[in-house]
């Protein structure tokens, strides 16, 4: 599989997802599932092809992690749709996924076959995949918060808040898996499970922020506006943890979580 083929796979997948989103508006459930899963299959075929041709999981560079993110967004979308029947969720997830696909088209960031020894571990794939899935769910929760805070005209219903909570609960569970798998891996690779490396510090910050949201929601269910603001802050922290850290003065040259350097 060559990176040059990405545009075609992406096009096919996005068309399918867009059709799925369209049929969600038309309330034709069977077609929603058919097209969404077809799109996911096409996109995953590309990931799998890259995996085989690179002879390593495509998870090392930012561009490669964006690939997974583009895949997990519609997956999270269809899971939410299957449980809540939100007509708009698939349109949202498709557009968001498209954004990440475009970033990858213009700035691929997929490199050679080489995978530095530090990344050659059975923990590598689950650690990053679980994190990307978590990011997708928490991204969807952020969209809900933005929608509830700024766009919702009618009174916010309990169902909408439940959906947001649900996305955060499942997202936070995966965030915890990702973090703890990272800790177990770090013990094998670097000698200690937690070293307060800048990436780890920001992972802790992000984790605390979502914990804060969850506790706050349970204790003060009526103050959902404040809770939504916590979600927005949490998502900013998540972005800093994911890629913002590369631009953060405090983390320059200190993080051992750096794998893009050629």
């Amino acid at each position: 599989m060559s990176w040059n083929l990405f545009v075609w796979f992406a096009l096919g997948a996005v068309i399918c997802w867009a059709l799925g989103a369209f049929f969600a508006w038309k309330e034709q459930k069977a077609k929603v599932y058919l097209f969404t899963f077809l799109g996911l299959a096409i996109f995953f075929a590309f990931i799998l092809g890259m995996w085989i041709s690179l002879e390593r999981p495509p998870l090392r560079t930012m561009g490669e992690t964006r690939l997974w993110y583009s895949f997990f967004l519609p997956l999270a979308g269809i899971i939410v749709y299957s449980r809540w029947r939100y007509k708009w969720i698939l349109s949202f997830s498709t557009v968001l996924s498209l954004v990440f696909i475009c970033v990858n088209l213009f700035k691929p960031g997929i490199h050679s076959k080489s995978l530095m020894p530090a990344l050659q571990s059975p923990w590598f794939a689950p650690h990053v995949i679980v994190y990307m899935f978590s990011y997708a769910l928490l991204g969807a929760a952020t969209l809900m918060a933005v929608y509830l805070l700024f766009f919702r005209k009618r009174k916010t219903t309990e169902v909408e808040l439940d959906l947001t909570d649900n996305l955060v609960y499942v997202g936070l569970a995966f965030l915890t898996f990702g973090m703890l798998m990272g800790a177990l891996w770090a013990k094998e690779a670097w000698g200690h499970y937690w070293a307060w490396d800048p990436k780890e510090t920001w992972a802790a910050i992000t984790w605390l922020c979502y914990l804060l949201y969850m506790h706050f929601r349970r204790i003060n269910p009526k103050e959902w506006r404040k809770a939504c603001w916590i979600l927005l802050l949490a998502f900013v922290c998540l972005q800093i943890c994911w890629w913002g850290i590369n631009y953060l003065p405090s983390a320059q040259g200190l993080s051992i979580h750096t794998y893009n350097v050629k």
Binding site: R83, D165, N166, A173, T176, G191, Y193, T201, I205, I219
Partner: protein, 299 residues
């Protein structure tokens, strides 16, 4: 303010109080000296902490502050404070020395330590509280709160007992001495003999694999041969032996291989906490998230 039941505002003030106490401690005693916590002090601290938790729990009806700490508002306040102070840590470069006074050595900054301790006390008390009125449905809550308590408390208290050494071993010259972080010569009770150090390369000559074929001899008479690779340490007598370095100028012809030796006696306790947390996260996803179906019926 301070009218029962206390709400978030009181919680934020208590956090502010801890900040003030922490600053006073920092000014009077200097930074937290974690090295003083080495065994047996950490065991005493653990007993003290658990004793304090039991006492607070027993006195909950008499001292309202203890009662309050078992509930959600306290959890929210402590999480918010922990988040805030950890954010400062994330935004400022963390260095051994220099940088921003106090804040660049956040891990030994008293307010940071006190606020995280406060959060752990609240998590511990919440565990007690839910343990007392145990039901099957409390298991997810217990796994999460007990897990985080065990993991963070034992990781922190055990940190002073972690031994991290560096050992440079030349060919056919068994080595039993190692260097500690502060460059002291230490004998870890085992010797390493290097048979072969290899580097494999990809086609583009980036390194693919660093490996050392070694024999390890221990004081108690063990003798074993194995390969140490990045991501594949060797376990001997409580030590983990890691591939750490080589002579960079010589590449695969390096005349020596450098190993890192790590011993962490508290690791089993920390891992217990981590596995409780993993189980807790699974429960969070499966049982704690709001059920959509029921609510659908309501609307």
């Amino acid at each position: 303010m301070w009218v029962k039941p206390w709400k978030l505002a009181e919680g934020f003030l208590i956090g502010g109080g801890l900040l003030a106490v922490g600053l006073a401690l920092q000014l009077s005693m200097g930074p937290v000296r974690w090295s003083l916590f080495a065994t047996p002090v950490n065991w005493m601290m653990l007993a003290l902490l658990l004793g304090a938790l039991v006492l607070m729990f027993l006195l909950r009806k008499r001292v309202y502050a203890f009662e309050w700490m078992m509930h959600g508002q306290a959890a929210v306040a402590s999480l918010a404070w922990a988040l805030g102070i950890t954010l400062v840590m994330g935004l400022l470069p963390q260095t051994r020395q220099g940088g921003v006074p106090w804040l660049s050595q956040m891990l030994s900054f008293w307010p940071f330590v006190l606020i995280w301790t406060w959060m752990m006390v609240i998590s511990g008390l919440a565990t007690f509280n839910h343990l007392l009125r145990f039901k099957l449905s409390e298991i997810p809550f217990l796994l999460n709160h007990l897990g985080v308590f065990v993991a963070i408390v034992t990781a922190t208290l055990g940190s002073a007992d972690v031994q991290k050494l560096q050992m440079t071993v030349s060919y056919e010259n068994p080595e039993w001495r190692a260097l500690s972080d502060d460059d002291a010569v230490v004998e870890p009770g085992l010797a390493i003999e290097l048979h072969q150090f290899t580097i494999d390369y990809y086609e583009d000559m980036t390194p693919k694999r660093f490996a050392s074929d070694i024999s390890v001899y221990t004081e108690d008479g063990k003798n074993l041969r194995g390969t140490v690779e990045v991501n594949k340490p060797l376990n001997v007598n409580g030590w983990k032996i890691y591939q750490y370095g080589y002579d960079n100028t010589m590449g695969s012809k390096s005349p020596y291989s450098v190993f890192m030796l790590v011993k962490d006696p508290w690791l089993p306790a920390v891992y217990t906490g981590i596995f409780l947390m993993l189980a807790g996260a699974l429960c969070l996803m499966l049982f704690m998230a709001p059920k959509p179906v029921k609510k659908e019926e309501k609307v």
